[in-house]
Symmetry: C2
Subunit: 495 residues, 2 copies
């Protein structure tokens, strides 16, 4: 067996461990009895360590060298080999000691965050957070050298391979110039409009569960290759060929729960549409988090909120939860068009959301560069929040302590949320231009025209192209905020 084929065999085995971990993780969140948690943690830790050892096995390095020196690989195989090398670099550029320190410290800091948050006690958290930042600086410095990119890009690379700060800045600078003024305009317009007819609870949970499943069936969730279950936090997980999404249901809130399911269904359909012949290989995996988020947001925020699709599902909703004529399309759309200056990212609407992300992006870059200390974060946060969103958090609970990402040691993760939203808008615009059948399809609950475009231009490509190249090839232009801006203008000002 030549070196490349040997690498494929090794990857297949690592993927099997990854798939097993995916199901174990799903099971832990949905099925497992609580008393089994310590035993499960041990099993998952052993499997993770085993997979890591396979990744950093020196023989991998030899095989990679050998395969790269050879020839005769087709485009996909070459892309696959490139991904393997990237993973190898990520796994081996950092010393085992640093990995161990980071793992220990971030779990401690995350635990400290869980305690400090309800007490609004940032002062206690700050020193541990600073230690975590110090580790991240060390990690970024090491990776940055091997990858030949900036320290921030080195961390970003773990979530969105090859993404550059320059690309992000083009988008975020544009948004920062546009959104605050736009937000004023929208709020002014909304203040003068009549309130929508109420769509209030209770929405019985069992009925919500049934409706969620119906909507997933309409969209085309592959129930022969996956499941829907309950968990505390919605997620899309499972394994290759076996996509498990979860949701939770609040009796007083139906619409946001419904769209959480549409969101996860978008993730699921991306996973399910990845090239089956490349399962178990890096090139067959989803291409990073910006693209993943673009696929969930394309369903949740673009296709799922067109008047065509709302019109298709509103009779179903009206039957499940009778509220007179409040389910009329325009009224439903008024509900989810509600824009607010909010403090909390996860509750933010699509207009203010990018501002939350820009704030985090600017701050974590300053932290990484050593220009900002943990202890100074609350002040910097609150000031920037006022500048960008126009409000100041009354406490750190609603400010710097709201997200788990930094205590958990995740830097470079936040930008992918908004890059995903920009990508979703740009792709939906390109798709609906290229395929006139998409809107009429949505009006009948037929996603085939849209999914035909997505299958061809996104899902079936796996990781064979970088996210940037894929977006450009699919939409004819590099990623920008233009489509998103046009989208929010049309939805919030022109409508």
């Amino acid at each position: 067996m030549n070196a490349y084929k040997q690498l494929e065999a090794r990857q297949k085995r690592m993927a099997a461990l990854g798939n097993a971990l995916g199901i174990l993780n799903w099971d832990q969140a949905t099925m497992m009895a609580t008393g089994a948690a310590p035993a499960r943690a041990e099993v998952m830790s052993e499997l993770s360590v085993l997979r890591h050892e396979m990744t950093v096995d020196p023989r991998m390095g030899d095989l990679l060298d050998e395969a790269e020196a050879g020839d005769g690989l087709d485009n996909w195989q070459s892309a696959n080999l490139k991904k393997m090398r990237r993973q190898y670099i990520h796994a081996t550029s950092i010393s085992a000691d640093l990995v161990a320190r980071k793992s220990r410290l971030t779990s401690e800091t995350e635990m400290a965050w869980r305690e400090a948050r309800p007490a609004n006690d940032f002062a206690t958290l700050a020193p541990m957070l600073e230690e975590t930042f110090e580790i991240l600086r060390e990690e970024a410095a090491g990776l940055s050298q091997t990858l030949g990119v900036s320290p921030y890009e080195a961390l970003l690379d773990g979530y969105d391979e090859g993404r550059t700060e320059a690309e992000i800045d083009v988008v975020f600078d544009d948004l920062e110039a546009f959104l605050p003024g736009f937000l004023n305009e929208v709020l002014e317009k909304q203040a003068s409009a009549a309130a929508p007819k109420p769509l209030e609870g209770p929405f019985p949970v069992e009925t919500q569960r049934k409706v969620a499943r119906q909507i997933m069936e309409i969209i085309g969730f592959p129930f022969e290759h996956g499941r829907l279950d309950d968990s505390h936090h919605p997620f899309c997980g499972g394994a290759e060929g076996d996509i498990r999404i979860t949701s939770r249901y609040l009796e007083h809130d139906f619409l946001s729960g419904l769209y959480a399911i549409v969101h996860e269904t978008g993730h699921a359909l991306y996973e399910n549409g990845l090239p089956k012949e490349w399962r178990g290989q890096p090139v067959g995996e989803a291409q990073g988090m910006t693209l993943h988020e673009s696929q969930s947001l394309l369903l949740e925020m673009q296709a799922g909120r067109t008047k065509e699709f709302i019109g298709h599902i509103s009779p179903l909703l009206a039957e499940a939860f009778p509220r007179g004529d409040a389910w009329e399309i325009e009224n439903v759309m008024k509900h989810y068009r509600k824009i607010e200056r909010g403090l909390i990212r996860v509750d933010a609407d699509e207009v203010t959301y990018p501002l939350h992300i820009i704030l985090r992006y600017r701050l974590e870059k300053a932290v990484l560069a050593g220009d900002l200390k943990a202890v100074d974060l609350p002040g910097a946060w609150n000031e920037m929040m006022q500048n960008l969103v126009g409000i100041t958090p009354p406490s750190d609970v609603d400010g710097v302590m709201q997200d788990v990402h930094w205590p958990a040691g995740l830097f470079g993760y936040f930008p992918t949320y908004s890059l995903g939203a920009m990508t979703a808008a740009q792709m939906f615009a390109a798709a609906t231009t290229a395929e006139p059948g998409i809107f009429p399809g949505l009006a009948q609950g037929d996603f085939k025209p849209l999914f035909g475009w997505l299958d061809k231009n996104v899902r079936s490509l796996g990781s064979s192209l970088s996210a940037g190249d894929l977006i450009e090839q699919a939409t004819g232009a590099p990623l920008s905020a233009a489509a998103y801006k046009a989208h929010v203008k049309a939805r919030y000002l022109d409508a």
Copy 2:
């Protein structure tokens, strides 16, 4: 780290893979969408191969030699080391080629059996079955040399370590002399007795599920460390510290479904009672299938069918499924005391069951010795069935083709069912003699007195003793059919 500690670390990792496989297997039977089956099969196969490679790793042999040459191990560690050596012998005594041929051939033969069975076509199955037998002869010959036991014992060793043919013969010869005559007596007595008041369906499945859970709670199934779900065939699986049992419910048949759950709960409580400090090590595992089956049958056939326990649960059953006074203790007991000359092992009552096993034991020994060919099995089967149970199968579907075991290449497995039944009777007799609180406890749904005895004498011992030694230590006598004979006499003749 010394050799023994290194072996422990390796075992822990193999156990993690085993536990992951346990959950994946459970998920496959209960949760997984059907379309995910091929992907799941690949994942499970990769993990199994990985575990096998760890087992046969030559370094294991070196470490075993080194650890065995050392000293300073306590009793449990020594027992652990002995188990590791035994597993190593089993995994390495057979060539990789034989393992591969056996795996391929037995899956083909099992598939052929699935097709031949509905067509009652033994003639087509026979040649493949003979090939499977030939492989089993080869495997037994190889293992027999390394283990220094008879070829049949070599196969038996995979299910019930250290069990000898002599031990089985003592029990089975006794049963063969006793049961046919006893069966005549019981049937004569039953023929002259009045039929019990009927306990007929429909029993709504949802209510059965609820009652099953209630009964499990009464017995003490550890729901904080496990689950009950539905599957086609009831089983007890999952992982260490996370026991998953399953059942299925038939609307027309409640009692047998209920006792299937009590049976699986017995398996679950054995697993749950294994020594937690030895989790992940061979000595912390259940000690073979005879003991495992003894623990399920002790609940199902002994404690669960005492008039004390029936009396405790009959009000609950009467409330769930109102049938007038048919739930009175004596009437329920009449129902499950019904004895029949049946053709099918899995439907057999506790009196005829051992006869089905003796038949299989005699035949598979003859096959292994080369004294019986596959093609002659139907004739031999039918003749022995007539001699032992007193009826002749009208077709091979109800005869030699009823079980999957032989097509699947499982020889030496059958005896453990009846050795388990004998062990259950012997243990229950010993426990109730030693602990006067057991019967009063059962009358109040309190299993603590019984489980105190089982925890001390069985569960907490893991694999630190051989099954034979454990039984003798627990009951004061080597395994025999005496307690079982006394039990069936009391239940079916004296009652």
